[in-house]
């Protein structure tokens, strides 16, 4: 954090002014994304937007939300590059595991129908 060092120069007993505009901006963004998810889920009928399109939109919006929480609230965006990749790379592999196991679930479903 670059701005911490400026605060450390203050003498004992002297308290700096709060600097929270960025935090509230991220909060508003998170709130807006959640509201959009609700509008997609409840206000838009399936005839206009099929379930598959809705699900893809949910996943995109969730990843954006996660990016803001991890990047800004957890400061990962301000860490060194090695740290960012040490966290992100395993998670990318996990996402791949999710994709292949969902595909596997689909083929289990086919197999159940086939054997019936």
């Amino acid at each position: 954090m670059a701005d911490t060092h400026t605060h450390t120069e203050h003498k004992e007993g002297e308290i700096a002014k709060p600097n929270t505009a960025g935090i509230w901006r991220v909060f508003v963004i998170l709130l807006i994304i959640t509201t959009i998810e609700f509008i997609i889920a409840l206000a838009i009928p399936v005839s206009i937007m099929p379930g598959g399109v809705k699900n893809i939109l949910y996943i995109i919006l969730t990843v954006v939300k996660a990016g803001y929480i991890v990047g800004e609230f957890m400061h990962l965006r301000h860490e060194v590059k090695f740290m960012i990749w040490a966290i992100l790379l395993p998670m990318i592999f996990i996402v791949w595991l999710l994709v292949i196991l969902i595909a596997e679930g689909g083929s289990v479903f086919e197999m159940k129908n086939f054997l019936r």
Binding site: T4, I15, L31, A41, K65, F73, M74, I94, L98, L101
Partner: protein, 229 residues
């Protein structure tokens, strides 16, 4: 180190959510042209917005996902107050750290209370119940063996995923209480700690804050995977 703990914790949550994805896709989906109008049945996977549509004090009113939305808002809000506490810690502002930690703890307890209600409602079920295909008996609510809303696996996953997350929230609240206690009793304001930590005396707030944001992050994924899709 907190980051690597959180990474390993993310693996366990991913394991649960991947299990949900796989079982969901290997089960029969609801199809209006085959199954007719939607009702709870053990023949197909339930639609979450039909299951989670109750709000306390509004019995019989269908408000899909409203209560869960309130819970999401509470958790995001308490994440924001946690960032504000961390920010106050950077400024060595003890009064502000105390104030924002107290709000964070309040948010955590509120979320846990909401989840307790959600579980209790899920376990007790609706007034009408559903007939079990195999035994022919009426089933009300859900437990680990039977489930009025759909296949038993749906209830099992609900209990495991939201339960595991709820336990994380509980642990987080305990850690928050601990650091609030330390702040209030001036542990972090002790000048002797400056020798070890320099100006970063409130570093502990930041570490616990990371854990608390992680809990919020997991809820964002649970919310999408379990309630929206």
């Amino acid at each position: 180190m907190m980051w690597f703990f959180l990474l390993s914790d993310a693996f366990s949550f991913s394991g649960l959510l991947i299990t949900y994805g796989m079982l969901r896709y290997s089960a029969v989906a609801y199809n209006p042209s085959v199954h007719g109008t939607y009702k709870f049945s053990m023949d197909y996977w339930p639609i979450p917005e039909k299951v989670f549509e109750s709000v306390p004090f509004l019995h019989g009113v269908s408000l899909p996902l409203v209560f869960v939305g309130i819970m999401t808002f509470i958790l995001i809000m308490s994440s924001v107050t946690m960032v504000l506490a961390v920010e106050a810690g950077h400024r060595n502002d003890r009064k502000d750290v105390e104030k924002w930690m107290l709000w964070t703890i309040l948010g955590g307890f509120t979320f846990l209370g909401c989840q307790a209600w959600e579980w209790s409602h899920f376990i007790h079920g609706t007034d009408t119940g559903t007939i079990d295909n195999i035994t022919g008996k009426m089933v009300y609510g859900a437990n680990l063996i039977q489930n009025q809303y759909g296949p038993p696996a749906f209830a099992d996953l609900f209990f495991f995923i939201t339960g595991f997350h709820g336990f994380h929230v509980f642990s987080g609240v305990m850690l928050n209480v601990l650091i609030f206690y330390n702040t209030a009793f001036g542990v972090y304001a002790n000048p002797a700690r400056e020798i070890d930590l320099g100006a970063e005396r409130y570093e502990m707030i930041e570490k616990v804050g990371l854990y608390w944001h992680f809990v919020d992050l997991v809820w964002v994924f649970v919310f999408t995977a379990f309630y929206l899709i």
